[in-house]
Symmetry: C2
Subunit: 493 residues, 2 copies
């Protein structure tokens, strides 16, 4: 893997002087085309051996290109805010939008490799990370991103020489820290685990490009030309063809039974019982969220989906009434903003992942892709088909970070919906709640029902199960939601 990067590549001054102006101009033009084209983001990862010129190259790229469309991220120690969230959160935050270039100096590879080298983790854990990374990069690619991964390499001898040279020169001495020498001592280990990781993550969609770091001119030309070629190739592509879906279909409907039809919609509470229960569970929920253990270790994500007129709004209000306004955040999910459209689908949800002790309530969620987008044909089949496993990956990352996920589907019968729609039309202050679109959606009742059942089949997991709520009686639905929340938190505490 490193053979080509230990040959002593170099470029003489004259050649370099001739090539650089041409390269810079080509890169600038291409970067401009990328911004104009605005159809995909470019993610550049920079990793490798210390002293191999990673920093210089990143700086040079910044210097060569238009700084308005390129952003470097030095991923050092995570901030407090970042520490409270799943490890990938900080990278999601920093993803470049379509038309822009993001350079990650230190990336999702850094911790897995360093932790293994220092013995903090075992090989199985490293392998786990590797597989998660592969899934993550596959998702990014599926969402259109161009990923370019540079690994700057030095042979052991070259690294030693380089560190010594830097030390000798008074102008560069400051750049050699004690940690650099400490790391040099573990060069062999570092090489071994880097090789292991690079091998397993050099995929067909996002291979590593290993660059010899000894000669700065060689390094710079190599990186510059690779970047240029990758961008040009992608920009010159005709419209991307739609992916072919080869997966087997969902369960056919053999009988009339499904998870929604099996709900007992007759359940209800009389008002006095409801009032009593409401007070009881709201109090309990409030108490549970105040527990020091919750505040220190846990977070809560509540995901609401449901039929039109299913009673989400009123239900959510009964929950928020029990919460401390400083610690919860309500996220109504509407059409994505411009900024959100320029990012991978899940980005708009990742940004709202709560920190420790906090609660986020999503009114409609990341399941939009497999519900409305599927039924209305807003995205190609291949996109929503892969969404199920991407969503499961997402939720698993949250759960592993001690975030409780409670997902509610508020179900009502078709007749009850009709009754509520008509009510809304009659009552003046409710009229804004009913539109032509609601009536149109209603015509697709069966399609939506199928989409919900498929969603439950694919994403109701042990770690993040769906709770189907019988919603014809609003009182019953509210109490069931509150009780489920309390039980889930209690079990976790």
């Amino acid at each position: 893997m490193f053979e080509s990067a230990e040959l002593g590549h170099k470029v003489d001054k004259e050649t370099y002087g001739k090539e650089v102006p041409l390269l810079r101009e080509a890169l600038l033009t291409t970067q401009f085309d990328l911004a104009e084209d605005h159809s995909f983001p470019v993610i550049i990862l920079v990793g490798g051996v210390d002293g191999a010129g990673k920093g210089e190259t990143v700086n040079l790229l910044n210097e060569w290109m238009d700084p308005r469309h390129i952003q470097a991220h030095a991923m050092g120690e995570p901030t407090q805010e970042e520490k409270e969230r799943p490890p990938m959160w900080r990278f999601w935050r920093a993803l470049p939008p379509k038309g822009k270039i993001g350079i990650f100096f230190g990336s999702w590879y850094t911790d897995p490799i360093v932790d293994r080298v220092t013995g903090l983790t075992k090989t199985t854990q490293l392998n786990r990370s590797v597989d998660e990374i592969n899934r993550f990069e596959m998702m990014l690619t599926d969402e259109g991103a161009l990923i370019i991964k540079f690994w700057f390499h030095l042979s052991k001898k070259a690294q030693k020489k380089r560190l010594k040279a830097l030390e000798k020169d008074p102008e560069t001495r400051w750049r050699v820290a004690d940690t650099d020498w400490a790391r040099f001592k573990i060069y062999d280990k570092f090489r071994k685990w880097s090789e292991h990781t690079l091998r397993a993550t050099s995929t067909g969609i996002a291979p590593w490009i290993v660059v010899e770091g000894v000669n700065a001119r060689y390094r710079n030309l190599t990186v510059g030309k690779t970047l240029l070629e990758a961008l040009r190739k992608r920009l010159d592509q005709k419209e991307p063809v739609e992916a072919v879906v080869t997966a087997a279909p969902f369960l056919p409907r053999i009988d009339k039974l499904n998870v929604l039809k099996s709900l007992d919609m007759s359940q209800n509470y009389p008002k006095p019982v409801y009032d009593e229960e409401l007070e009881k569970f709201q109090g309990r929920l409030n108490q549970l969220l105040r527990r020091p253990r919750f505040k220190k270790r846990l977070s809560l994500v509540v995901a609401y989906e449901g039929a039109d007129a299913g009673g989400k709004g009123g239900n959510i209000r009964r929950v928020t009434a029990a919460l401390d306004a400083r610690h919860y955040r309500m996220v109504p999910v509407a059409a994505p903003t411009e900024e959100e459209r320029a990012q991978p689908y899940l980005w708009r949800f990742w940004r709202h992942v709560p920190g420790k002790g906090a609660v986020t309530i999503f009114d409609r969620t990341w399941y939009g892709r497999v519900l409305v987008e599927r039924v209305e044909g807003f995205c190609p089949e291949s996109d929503w088909m892969r969404a199920y496993s991407e969503i499961n990956d997402f939720e698993e990352q949250l759960v592993r970070n001690n975030i409780l996920i409670v997902k509610f589907w508020l179900a009502i019968s078709k007749e009850e919906q009709l009754r509520r729609f008509k009510d809304r039309e009659k009552i003046a202050f409710k009229r804004f709640k009913i539109t032509e679109e609601d009536w149109r959606n209603r015509e697709k009742w069966d399609d939506y029902e199928q989409a919900v059942c498929d969603m439950v089949d694919r994403t109701s997991t042990d770690i993040a199960p769906w709770t189907l709520v019988e919603g014809n009686n609003k009182y019953y639905a509210r109490i069931k939601v509150l009780k489920t929340l309390c039980d889930t938190i209690e079990a976790a505490l």
Copy 2:
């Protein structure tokens, strides 16, 4: 995940009686179309809870369909031959060719799940298997296979009821073994780890279809209709579009240096030294392969690639001269046979993976895809681009099974090749060795050189490194190969 399969689905006799004849006919027609079309294989996996009717359904499918084009594989205890090879070997062997259907009753999921349930493995190991499975299924899909995964489910209550019912009936009593009841006792564990595995392997390309196993008529119709729909959908697809390659390009050639050009081609041995060394290393190799530890635990795969007229033939003969004819196998890789063309690319190499104590020598190898097929355009770019990581996966599986892999590239200079070509034309008994094609290939010298360098960059790994052999002097090349073999085996022993 299992919600839909615990609802008590059933189909009445009358409906069943009406639907089955239609379904059977449709299935038969479709199966015929599949055989005619002959462009993809169908892989059906059947897993799930005991007593959920897995066996009956497999038998039924066999009964309903044309047995000439469908083959069921009961993957029970591995045979001795299978035990000696990597775990995936037996599945590779059983893969259906294009146009056919293979049913795996017990599959690559069985051991990972059962081993975790019985506590033989830890969760990290299960996760590792899961990720390997995902890569494997991705490769199969990329190679065109249609994968349909059925999971037969019973709730705990339903399983108990079913086992009791089987026991009660004298006709079916024999089907309930003690192990079934033993397994029932660990139902919860089994459910937990199955759920875990299904969640992580329900990918966009090969999702699980969970079927409720209680009612036989429901089960049969569900499986039959799913299969029918999946086949029809795939058959009705227009020509598959070529995958878009979005990966970053290889290292650009900045200077004249590369791993081949850096070889010192002047190295050579005078004849007397050669004779002496040859005898020494052949003897040593022979001895090493006779060691009980090698015979019991290790195997050896020798992979030969090289330039035309690079001296492969003579080199290989010097190696085989040292081997016991009963324990080695020589595999000359030529154009694939009809049978091989109907399988995924790596199938033709998997079939020759040696058992314990054995040696397989490949004269040309699985690297053909990234060498000749790439340079000559015999396969689309997306195919050879993904081959690097598929090859690394393949070799890793071998290495983990204690198979030593030694890969040689026999390099000669362009001038030396010309000399040898001319020699061959002059000498009568060598004339058959030189063809028009050799001259044509020679014109693409630079393209081949580039392909070799890229191959080394992507596939020379710590666990299976490439050995580049300076081949201008045949004596030197032969000794280097023999010595490398001896050193590798010695290090492993």
